[in-house]
Subunit: 234 residues, 2 copies
DNA sequence: CGTAGGTTTGATGGGCATCAAGGATAGTGG
DNA sequence: CCACTATCCTTGATGCCCATCAAACCTACG
């Protein structure tokens, strides 16, 4: 096992008032007065690639807000293989089911160095009781999860393997106007797209030969967005 | 176009207090006093197979509770084909995004004769403001949608076509202890499983030859649950 | 330097899409 | 009442795409 890559580090107690990503995060709707309702500590936790925020079946004690990095939500299949059902990016929320007192439905694992805020479920519940704005915020988070799940199915689990890879690349780039994107292990790619590791590898190699992808560094590529769009449409 | 099969019929104004499925429906958490908060009409609407509850892109004005029948949530792809992303059964809720004032994300179409309650979004909002129990209920509905979406991906879009058909059959039977299940058009089956109409047809035919399915009537089959379980595991 | 984990590439075969044609069923109109 | 059509389901033939098995390569690290 790789030592440093499966670690999580406590980074201090969060100062929500001054949070740099507050406008995109779960607490974006809160006003100054609302923070008085928070009586439990909200920790900032840093996860290295491979580290788990939580595991499927764990009692859900907290919700996580992703501030930087990338997190995969994994579900394990009967035959032991895994399927990635969603990706969480800065501003997204992991483990909402904890608010309902349920067990976690997935295993959440950081794909890149990821900074999170860990918010105990009691804090969310107290805020939800006290402020209607928090309610709305929670419902929007859930709705966003549903949207992402549906989009995942229709764009990454539909059509040929090349089209899926192309759509994944476009998805990783969107909202970053840059044509640059950072990939991850081929095994993870396969688990996202419902194809084998070899197929994922072959297609990336093919895109590189065709000049659609240009390697910039380890797993960093410049993308020909137009070409990808054409392939994604297939 | 077939005349009678694309109709919706108003069946009267709902009597929520006396609703037979209230314990499983959206209003299960309401107490008698809460009903005073409802000032808009809640209609009972019956949809025949093929009729749409709403279309993707329509402004979301109401939420629908499914009381009997079966509803498919469809998303249309770039190439004009369709993908079914979820099935709603009695007790499920369609169009939750309306509560947030968003447009509908799918087209919802009845697969069987389906009785629904149409609840205007203002009613839900008013109840949500007034009663915390309604809040919890809404969040649970959303969480259920996410769960179903994830399960759909991992069980109906993963593995070989035979395994997918087997899992679909098991899913249609579960919670009905009976080994009997009602199928639908092969095209819909294909759109659920991410395979072609022909493949769906072939596999059903094969299951029948092998005695795993026995035809009882038009699209009604008795299932060998054990055998299906074995195939689903593959 | 040697090993381990991951990536790439090749060879092969099977599963499923595709194209095409032949039944089955129900509804329509003469 | 019976052709006649439309729609859906079924079945066949063919070929491609991708899973599978296997081996070579590459990089990091002890």
């Amino acid at each position: 096992m790789r030592g440093k890559s499966i670690e999580a580090a406590w980074r201090g107690q969060a100062e929500c008032h001054a949070c740099g990503v507050r406008e995109t995060a779960l607490f974006s709707a809160l006003r100054e007065a609302d923070f008085a309702l928070i009586h439990l500590p909200i920790d900032e936790i840093q996860f290295e690639p491979g580290a788990a925020l939580y595991h499927v079946g764990d009692p859900g004690q907290a919700v996580f807000t992703v501030r930087t990095g990338l997190v995969k939500l994994v579900r394990y299949l009967a035959d032991g293989s895994q399927r990635i059902v969603r990706l969480l990016r800065p501003g997204d929320t992991a483990g909402l089911e904890a608010v309902l007192g349920q067990e976690y439905e997935h295993t959440a694992i950081a794909l890149r160095p990821t900074l999170t805020c860990r918010i105990p479920r009691e804090v969310v519940n107290r805020l939800a009781e006290g402020t209607p704005r928090m309610h709305a915020q929670l419902m929007q988070r859930w709705q966003r999860s549903v949207q992402q799940a549906d989009a995942w199915l229709t764009s990454l689990s539909t059509g040929g393997a090349k089209a899926r890879v192309a759509r994944l690349l476009l998805l990783l780039m969107d909202e970053g106007a840059a044509t640059e994107c950072e990939l991850f292990g081929r095994e993870d790619m396969g688990a996202m797209l419902g194809v084998t590791t070899e197929t994922a590898s072959r297609i990336v190699a093919e895109f590189r030969r065709e000049g659609i992808l240009t390697e910039l560094g380890p797993n960093r590529y410049a993308c020909d967005v137009a070409a990808l769009g054409r392939i994604a449409g297939t």
